[in-house]
Structure formats: structure tokens, C-alpha cells
Amino acid sequence: MARLRAEVLVIGGGATGAGVAWDAALRGFDVVLVDRADLAIGTSGRFHGLLHSGGRYVVKDVVAARECVAENAILRRVIPQCIEDTGGLFVTFEDNDPGYGDRFLAGCHTAGLPVEEIPVAEALRMEPVVNPAIQRAFIVPDAAIDVWKTVWSLADGAVAHGARVLTYHKVIGLHTEHDAVTGARLRNELTGEELDIDAGFTINASGAWAAQIVRMAGIEGIGVIPGKGIMIGMNHRLVNTVLNRCAMPADGDILVPIRTISAIGTTDIRAADADEIPVTQAEVDQMLAEGERLVPGLRRARALRVWSGVRPLFQDEKAGGAEVDTRDVSRTHAVVDHRKRDGIAALLTMSGGKLTTLRLMAQDIVDAMCEQLGTDRPCRTAEVRPPRNEDGRYYQVGSRLAKREARLLDEQLICECELVGRERLEETMRARGTINLDDIRRQLRLGMGPCQGGFCIYRATGILHGVGRLSGAQASTSLLAFLQERWKGVWPILYGDQLRQARLDDWIFQGLLDVEHLPETGTGAPAALLEEEPIPA
């Protein structure tokens, strides 16, 4: 069996794990980051896209609010290319608690959050689609953050400092010796091969799956209850500013502009299993109804896709373990020190938190590791910019279009909706060494525009088949897996133009190409994809 060695093993390639890997690598640790799938495919890839100003928490959880205020400012400085500086608007309605507006303002002041109340007329001029029935309006520094760019930038930064990233490697066991964790057993999810890793220290950043990991070290009494939230992406930038209902956090009360679309969300429903979070039609109906209250006419916009993620609600029996509404739990994070809690050294678990505070979470847990290891290495993530953020500029909508226009005639456009050119696609396929179209979708947003891949999926399959020297069966499996993945995100919201598009896509894939009868495909399991050597990186 293959064996690897590292000073620090980070389990989980979401925002937290990538942040930890970047932080630890910057401090000079030799790091291995592992994820059972691709990076940012867990909760991080299914979140709402908001870089919180803190406004959402000022009334209810001032600690969380303060953290957001500080981290929002730092992330704007160090990863500006991952952020679009949209600003945020909090609006009150008549049916809200009438005192909430004043408490909101007071809370902002307590938390140190820069806020400005503006006249309703001015808010409506800024965002003409907002419900004209709003009573008060406040401006805060909310922003939109691109999680894929963020996570890949942090991971590439870690790699540039010597880290290794193993995607599609699942932790299936932890090794312990003398009451300390000494490493883990991994299974390559594409080939089925297993490998052992010896690690001086292990950081569990597996979010909603954290309890499964600690159980592998024989630790009991930690549970994670998944709280499911759904979001619907609408085919327009209905607003240019993040729009928040100024009231106690509830369902469907935030609309975030994300590139060319906007996302309405979310909900919070107990789920039995973090891996089984299908969206129901009732949830879609509820979300559309809530969205309609914020922005009348939202239902008439085209819904592009729906996704869901899980908030991990940690329950620690040793800490009381009372059941609570998952939204009532503080959104701040905590480092679980298993040496103190369970007498097991060299293992820390991150619990709770949010994407906005990923840097602080990483700093806290790496600090705790340094303390346990008895070394003093200062955190540098508040100053150093990870790759592709060096120019210090925010992302702006339309930059892809501007880049494209410069070379409109000399390159083939593969995805018209998201403006992905052939060279960029081929480059990404080579660099990622993946034969999985879905990995490429996340990286390039391929097939995520209005046509939902109707055209580009076939094209990308053809190109991948060539670039990756795939067999026909491998290409077919990848194509079918992509179609299923896409379907998962659209079927609950198929109405209006999106149903029309889906039916056109049915005609392309089933009518014209007859993909249902492709000869000898695998079952869609990724293992079938790797009968041959992967593409050389």
C-alpha cells in the first residue's frame, strides 16, 4: 500500500479546509489537503454567495456580527478578485416588528458596522424592482463572493507553498497511537485504491461530516444535525445590491446578485442525512412566494436552477447538547480540542462558522495546533494575497465579456451563455487532469447559463474525448453523469422559459443524439471513468 507523510493532514476541501491549508502552508508547515470529492463540492459549493457585512447578525448575535465586520474588510483586501463589491441593502416592511429598524441601527453601531440609512425613494431608485411597500432602507458593505475562485485560489496558494492536494480521496479511517492521532487511511474514489498517510497533526474540517471523522478515532458524543437550506438562481441580475429583509433571520429573506444571475434563499429544515438533501416542490413554492414579497414579479423571471446545502448543527453531549432550531445557534465557530475533550492529541475539529469567516476560522484552528505543538508561528493570511488576487482589484461583472470581445474572431466559443472559449476549456481540462465534465463545470461555470448545457455539453464531451484521449465508453459515462447532475438542479423549478429550455434539451440529447442508447456505458460511477491513465497534468 502506498504511504504518504505530512506534518499536517487537513480533512475536507471546502472553504474551511482550503483556508486551513493556505494558513498552515504559509506558516511553513508541510500540508496535505484531502477531500472525498472535488474541492468545494460540499456545503461550500452550495451556499448563497454572500460575503456578510454582519448586518444579518447585529440584533441577535453581536459576536458573530463583529467577526463578520472584521473579516469582510480583510477578505476584501486579500482576495478582491473573488469578490464583487455589490454593497447591501436592508429593507423593512410594515408587517415586520416595528422596533426592529431601530434595534438594527443600534446593533450596527455596537458591532462597529458602517451603516447608512437612506430615504426609501433613493433605495427604490437604486433598486427599482424592490417592493415599493418598504418602510426604511439601510446600506451596509455586503458583497458577493465566488466560492470556487476563493477555494481554488487558497488551495493553489497552499500548493505554491509546498502543500499537496488530493481530491477524490476519502478518509476511511484514522490511525491512533498512544492517545494521539497519527494519520489516516484514504481511499481513492476513482480507482478504489487505498493509501495510508502518516501525519504529525490532523485537522478535521469536514463540516457536516465532522462527526463521522471523529468517530473513526473512537470519539463519541459529538453529533451533527444537518439543517438544509435551498436557494433558487434566477436568470437575471434582478438587483445589483444584496437585498436583505431587515427582520429576524427567516426563510427566503435574502437576494444575492451573483455574476449575471441572482439567488433567492434560503430555508432551514432538519435533514436526516447530509448526503441526501433533495429539494421538494413545496420548498420551491415557498421560496418563490417569499421572493415575490421582496421583489414583486420575481416569479415571472426565469428560474435557472435550484440547489441545497446543509448547515452543520453541532451537538456536543458533553456540553449539554440541548436541541435547538438550527438557525438559532450562534453562527460563530468553535475549535474542538480533542486532547482536552477526549484525551486524544494531535486532532482538532472545526465546528460551525460561515464562509465569510473562513480566514479567521483557519487562523484560530492553526493557532490551536501551534499551541499544542508548542511552536510559535504567526498567522499571515490577513496580509498575504493568494494567487490570482495580486492586482488588488475587485471582480466586476462583464470582465469575461470584455476579455472575449478582444478575441472574438480568432477563437471558438464553446459555451455561449458563460462565454467559455475552446482554448480555456482545453487548458482547464489539461490542468485539472480530470475526465469528469462536472469538475470542469464548477471551474468554468460551463453549462450553468440559461441553456443549461444544451449545446456545450456535447461540445465539451467531444473536446474532452480528444484532449483526454478517453474511450467512447468513458466519454459517454461522463456525459450521462453530467446530464443527471444538471437534471438534479433543474427539475423542481421547471416552469416558464426554463421548462421550454429543458424540453429543447430533451430533444437535443434524447431526440437528436439518442444518448439514452449509447453503447456500453458504465453505471455513472466515477470509477468507470478511470479505466485508463488519467490525463497527464
Binding site: 416542490q281 471558438q412 437534471w487 416558464g496 437528436l512
Partner: protein
């Protein structure tokens, strides 16, 4: 305001077929359509029935079984003989059409097996002559030739999958030839280039010495739009072997050839097509529609008609719509839509290839193709429904799309002619001439 014996709503295969039949039968015909319909997207192979759900070899027999087993299926309206008659009529349209001698081959008796752009051997009954040599039921050696600049056709992927079919040997070649050496040219751009002998010569030059003795040549379905027969024959002659077209992603060049042919026949018979017109409702007198209301840009117009053919397609072309409260409507005349699950019930299932409860939704009709309400009684006496609007089928799965639209459009025209002949009143002035 205008007045016609028949207004046909929809300019897809069903609408144009009905319109040509009516006009050639002597009726004054006006076709109103929002857009050009699926002909510009679909390869326009006349797929009668490809799967039931096993691959179908003999559609005529399979149709009989289908109609017995599924009395709600729209093929019950036409039957196997009706399909055969429609196909004969359709082939006849090309005989003295604008693209003649370009023709269709095949019949309702047998399905050919033609490769798709991913290399699946798909059952098809009646296809353009330019595709017929792709019938690989008996196997064969194929060299699939594509162009790097044409992103909607990937020859190596196609060949790789095709080569796994019984008795087929296939390989792919990608050529670096394109009109004006551009990097990104769609199917229509290539088709225009293939009309030009000098472009064909460039392609032939690139293939010289690269083809095996027994190999036929597959090319994307872009072999000419003005004179496809000449382009295809020229390639066959100069390459000295069978050459065939394989449909690409849209836009569809073979579909445009069908549209051009039918539209020209309609023009010759005195019918007219107006595009960019959305039909938004109708004026009625009792159980009859006396006029349709249409919107052109911001203007509204009223078109009086004795009879209306509704051939507006399904959800894909905007003939049917589902709103965010999960209520469906037929967009032109507001006819009832059958087969839509109630708002709380599931419309789709989580697996892409599952049976989806909303799959067969559409306008329900009686035996004369008149729309009926939930009670089964006709909603209008003088409206005939044809094509993808009809309830009861999932043609993209059965591979019956153009077969259904052609056959039901053909019958719609026939039914109306017969009726107007039966009671020739003032309304029928101009008919039968």
C-alpha cells in the same frame, strides 16, 4: 383585418403540411407563426417510431401494436396507413420542389439505423437521400470526417462509439478546413460553403489518399443548402464511394431544406406565411371560432377564418406553457391542456431518464382532431389540432417527432378539405378551384 378559408397557427412541419394540403386543395390559407418552428433545429428525418421501448425494426407493425396498447396515443388518429399516406405525400413534395432532385428515401415498413453525432445507431424510417448511406444495419466501414471549426460535430467521438456497434468499423478524421479559414463556423455557414465547388474541392483535396478502399464517408449534415443534391453527388463521384450526412446540433441544415420546400409549395398554391406573429386568442360564435387575434410587435390584428388549424408545437416551441403556479395553458387559443399533474403532485422525477408524469401533457382531441375539454366534449367545432401540441406521446423518447407532426398535419389538412367540400356554403368560395 383579413379573411381566409383557413388560418393555420404554427409554421413547423405540422402546420406547413396542413397548409400546403389545404392550399393545394383550393383553400385560401394564411399561416401565422411566432417563429419558424422545429424544422430549423431538428434534422427532419421522419422518425415514425424508433423505440417501443425496444428498438423498432418494422414501424408499420409496431404502430399497430402501439395504437392497440395505448388508445390515448396520437398515432391512433392516423393509424399506420395514414402515416404511410403522409409519407408518400411528403416525398412527392420534393419531386418538383425548389431543391429537386433532392429527395427523401425509406418507408414506414422498415427502420434504418443511422448514426447520431455521438455515434448511437438510431432508428429512422424516412430520411434525406443524403443520409441514407449511413444505414449501418448490415455493418460496414466508415470514415467519419469533421471540421475543427464546426464545434457541433465531433468525428472522433462519433467514430469511437460507432465502432462499438456490431459489424461496424469506424475511425474519425478532423480536418482543418473552414470557410474563410474562420475558427468558429456553424452548420449553416458550412452548408453555404459546400454549395461552392471550390470549397468542396478543398475538402476532397484534404481527403486524397487518406481513405481506405472499403470505407464510406460520413460528414456532418452541412452538404449544401441551395443545391444539396449536387453537392452530395459531387462528393460521392469525386471520392468514388458512398457519402452520407450525419445530423449536427442546431441549426439544422436538412430541416431548413424541408422548410424551404414546403414554404415554396405553399407560395405556389397561393398560401401565405407571416412570421413574428403571436396568436393570443380567438373570437368565437357559439362553438366556432370566427377570427383569431394576433400580435405583431405592439400592434394587434384580427384574422377572420372559417377554420383554424392549431399546430403550435409543445412546450419546446411555446405552444404550451406552464406558469410558476404550475398551471398549464395552450398559448394561442387558450385550449384546455390535459395530462398536467395538479399543483401539489409531482411533475418530474429525480432521474433524468425516468418516466416523468408531465411527459405526455398536451391538447386532448377527439377522433377528428378537434380539441376537447376535460369532459371529452369538443371545445370548438372548426378547430383541428396537429403536431407536437397533441397530448399522449413523448416523441423525444419514442423517436416519433416528425412522424407524428407530418402524419397528423397531413390528416388535419385532409379532414378540413373533406368537410368544406361536404358543406360548401359561402364560406367555401374559392375552395376546390
Amino acid at each position: 383585418m383579413s379573411r381566409h378559408d383557413a388560418v393555420v397557427v404554427g409554421a413547423g412541419l405540422a402546420g406547413l403540411t396542413a397548409a400546403v394540403r389545404l392550399a393545394e386543395g383550393g383553400a385560401s390559407v394564411l399561416v401565422l407563426a411566432k417563429g419558424v418552428g422545429a424544422t430549423h433545429l431538428s434534422p427532419c428525418t421522419i422518425d415514425v417510431l424508433g423505440y417501443d421501448p425496444e428498438p423498432v425494426d418494422h414501424p408499420r407493425d409496431a404502430l399497430r401494436r402501439l395504437v392497440d396498447a395505448r388508445p390515448d396515443h396520437p398515432y391512433r388518429l392516423v393509424g399506420a396507413d395514414g402515416v404511410a399516406a403522409a409519407i408518400d405525400w411528403f416525398k412527392g413534395c420534393f419531386a418538383d420542389g425548389p431543391l429537386s432532385p433532392y429527395a427523401y428515401a425509406g418507408s414506414v415498413d422498415e427502420n434504418m439505423r443511422l448514426p447520431t453525432a455521438v455515434g448511437v445507431l438510431r432508428p429512422s424510417a424516412v430520411v434525406p437521400e443524403t443520409m441514407a448511406a449511413g444505414d449501418l444495419r448490415a455493418g460496414g466501414e466508415v470514415c467519419v470526417v469533421g471540421f475543427r471549426a464546426l464545434k457541433d460535430f465531433h468525428p472522433v467521438l462519433l467514430a469511437d462509439n460507432l465502432g462499438r456497434a456490431a459489424g461496424v468499423q469506424a475511425r474519425g478524421l478532423e480536418l482543418d478546413v473552414s470557410p474563410e479559414d474562420r475558427a468558429d463556423v456553424n452548420a449553416l455557414g458550412f452548408a453555404r460553403a459546400f454549395d461552392d465547388a471550390s470549397f468542396r474541392a478543398r475538402v476532397i483535396g484534404q481527403l486524397a489518399g487518406r481513405l481506405g478502399a472499403g470505407e464510406r464517408v460520413a460528414l456532418p449534415a452541412v452538404l449544401g443548402i441551395a443545391d444539396p443534391h449536387a453537392a452530395w453527388r459531387d462528393l460521392e463521384d469525386r471520392l468514388g464511394r458512398p457519402v452520407f450526412e450525419v445530423p449536427t446540433l442546431p441549426p439544422s441544415v436538412p430541416g431548413m431544406r424541408v422548410f424551404a420546400t414546403l414554404r415554396e409549395r405553399l407560395r405556389r398554391a397561393g398560401g401565405r406565411v407571416i412570421l413574428n406573429v403571436v396568436v393570443t386568442g380567438a373570437e368565437r360564435a357559439g362553438a366556432r371560432i370566427i377570427a383569431v387575434r394576433a400580435r405583431v410587435g405592439l400592434r394587434d390584428a384580427v384574422h377572420e377564418a372559417d377554420r383554424v388549424v392549431l399546430a403550435t408545437g409543445g412546450f419546446a416551441s411555446g405552444g404550451l406553457e406552464l406558469d410558476s403556479g404550475w398551471v398549464a395553458r395552450e398559448t394561442a387559443l387558450g385550449l384546455p391542456v390535459a395530462g398536467v399533474p395538479a399543483p401539489g403532485d409531482s411533475r418530474f422525477r429525480p432521474g433524468y431518464f425516468d418516466d416523468h408524469p408531465i411527459g405526455r401533457a398536451g391538447v386532448a382531441v377527439d377522433g377528428d382532431q378537434r380539441p376537447v375539454g376535460p369532459d371529452g366534449a369538443p371545445a370548438f367545432d372548426n378547430v383541428t389540432v396537429a403536431g407536437a401540441t397533441l397530448a399522449g406521446a413523448e416523441p423525444w423518447r419514442e423517436k416519433s417527432g416528425d412522424g407524428l407532426s407530418l402524419a397528423t398535419g397531413h390528416r388535419a389538412g385532409g379532414l378540413m378539405l373533406a368537410e368544406s367540400g361536404a358543406h360548401a356554403g359561402p364560406a367555401a368560395v374559392g375552395m376546390g378551384g
